[in-house]
């Protein structure tokens, strides 16, 4: 019993760490500027896959591990995802779930920065 719960925990942790690592790589290398539409599309797709596969219970921990830059960039992608409904395999509820958790951690300031920043993703 004990062993079992420890196992689930460690599996959950490694999964959480994996999505954090993947998310971090994507966010740190987010493409900016003109003439990189293809790269932007690929990044958004990759990111959405990660968001979709992260368990809801792990989301807060993953977000807390991100740097402030990472959190701000993630918010930009969430809004970009929400701006294109029916695109790819985006589910609105997944994005809204992440948005809620991210706002709890990074605050409304993070949303304001997404709106002001002209370096769009």
């Amino acid at each position: 019993m004990m062993r079992n719960s420890a196992r689930t925990q460690s599996v959950a942790l490694s999964q959480g760490a994996m999505s954090w690592g993947a998310l971090n790589i994507v966010l740190e290398n987010a493409p900016y500027g003109p003439n990189v539409e293809e790269a932007k599309t690929v990044t958004l797709q990759t990111l959405l896959t990660i968001l979709n596969t992260t368990k809801a219970t792990e989301i807060p921990a993953v977000i807390k591990e991100l740097s402030q830059d990472g959190q701000d960039t993630l918010m930009k992608y969430l809004y970009k995802g929400m701006a294109m409904p029916g695109w790819g395999d985006i589910s609105g509820s997944v994005l809204l779930g992440w948005h809620e958790k991210l706002t709890e951690v990074a605050g409304t300031g993070c949303i304001v920065r997404t709106m002001t920043d002209r370096r769009t993703v």
């Binding site: 605050g107 409304t108 993070c110």
Partner: protein, 397 residues
């Protein structure tokens, strides 16, 4: 000590400025007139109205030593008001003097220089007018700082040496200019910002980190450090000698005004409705708390929602939807959905924060005015860390 709260009007207070003895305050109540209030006991009563502008007054500054008031307005004019005896009755009255601003857009912000022989008017004409008195014609003339400003200038602040001027602009930059006027100024000594300072020298240009308008700028008391707050919910502190820029991203809504209270402390306020204190040194800066201790001294509102909720988010519509969403409640629930009162002292955006009282080089009290029509005097040392930490950590949306 609890902050002193005065409700001056039901309209927004665009700006305010106290007289040197703190017995009077000039404020623009979102109108074309500047209203002078006089303190009578615990209340402020309107005593005089300065009417000359024909559009909204955007900024007022009351010079403490020369007792002159300068007002700037969207009608593209500024007036300097001086108390002069009426020739017939001998009663003292405020008389305006025209300022030749030569700008073709609204004037947005005005500040007297420390020696009170010049003032700077920020404007939407992508220029800052530096005004000095011309005794021959008995009016104020201006010289324009233009390059390289690319959008509306939103705020200005003078360096203590009376020559350097900081400006924050909607082109997302904070800049430090030389506003040296040959006829008025002595040759300034070299500072960390530079040594040769002819008019319109650009001594520094700093961009806001995530591209927000720079709403407020301020030199530290020594003039060696510059702070600016921008609309990307951040505050930046610049050490030009370093060169180091410390940027603090805040988790709440953007600040629109700030003031230094000591060489190591800044008070900033804005859309979050509470004055927030930052402190630090050349080694680093961080937010330390809020002057608005919303957890104590409040009645039911504070106790019910606790320190975990953000002032602005405690609105009727918001809690109604939240209850409907999370608990399936409709109508007024136990969370008091009919209560529209925010948990902060100010009930709306703070438009201006200014030093009020100084002791031994430290500002001990600051005053704020807000869109809620309130004028509040805060004890600058009464920082409540728990309030702001709880709020930032436990933000609910």
């Amino acid at each position: 000590m609890a902050p002193e709260v005065f409700n001056l009007a039901q309209t927004p207070i665009t700006c305010h400025s106290f007289s040197a003895d703190h017995k009077q305050v000039a404020a623009s109540l979102n109108s074309n007139d500047a209203q002078i209030f006089t303190r009578q006991g615990a209340a402020w009563t309107p005593t005089e109205t300065l009417s000359e502008h024909d559009k909204l007054i955007t900024s007022i500054d009351w010079a403490p030593n020369s007792n002159r008031i300068v007002t700037a307005s969207q009608d593209r004019n500024a007036y300097v008001w001086q108390q002069t005896p009426d020739p017939q009755t001998g009663k003292m009255a405020w008389k305006p003097t025209l300022v030749l601003l030569r700008i073709n857009r609204a004037a947005t912000h005005v500040r007297w220089s420390p020696k009170e022989d010049k003032f700077a008017v920020a404007s939407g004409a992508r220029a800052i007018a530096i005004c000095s008195f011309d005794p021959e014609n008995n009016w104020w003339v201006s010289k324009l700082l233009k390059k390289p400003i690319r959008s509306t200038v939103l705020s200005v602040d003078w360096h203590p040496n009376n020559v350097l001027l900081a400006a924050g602009s909607a082109d997302m930059k904070a800049r430090v200019f030389s506003a040296y006027i040959k006829e008025v100024d002595d040759k300034p000594a070299a500072t960390v910002w530079g040594s040769k300072l002819p008019f319109n020298t650009i001594c520094g240009e700093y961009a806001s980190p995530a591209g927000g308008w720079v709403h407020a700028v301020g030199f530290s008391p020594s003039g060696d450090v510059l702070a600016f707050a921008s609309h990307d919910s951040s505050i930046s502190i610049v050490y030009p000698g370093g060169p180091a820029i410390y940027n603090i991203r805040i988790s709440s809504l953007p600040f629109v005004t700030l003031t230094w209270t000591a060489e190591d402390t800044i008070v900033a306020a804005g859309h979050d409705c509470q004055p927030v204190v930052f402190s630090g040194s050349e080694a680093g800066w961080q937010g330390v708390g809020s002057l608005d201790d919303s957890t104590s001294g409040k009645t039911a509102a504070g106790a019910r929602a606790g320190p975990g909720s953000v002032g602005r988010l405690n609105s009727v519509a918001f809690s109604t939807f939240r209850d409907a969403d999370s608990r399936g409640h409709t109508g007024s629930g136990s969370t008091g959905a009919t209560d529209t009162k925010l948990l902060t002292v100010h009930q709306n955006t703070i438009t201006s924060v200014r030093p009020y009282e100084t002791h031994g080089g430290r500002v001990t009290k600051v005053s704020t005015s807000g869109v809620d029509g309130n004028l509040v005097i805060w004890d600058a040392d009464n920082v409540s860390a728990s309030g702001v930490v709880g709020r930032m950590g436990g933000m609910r949306v």
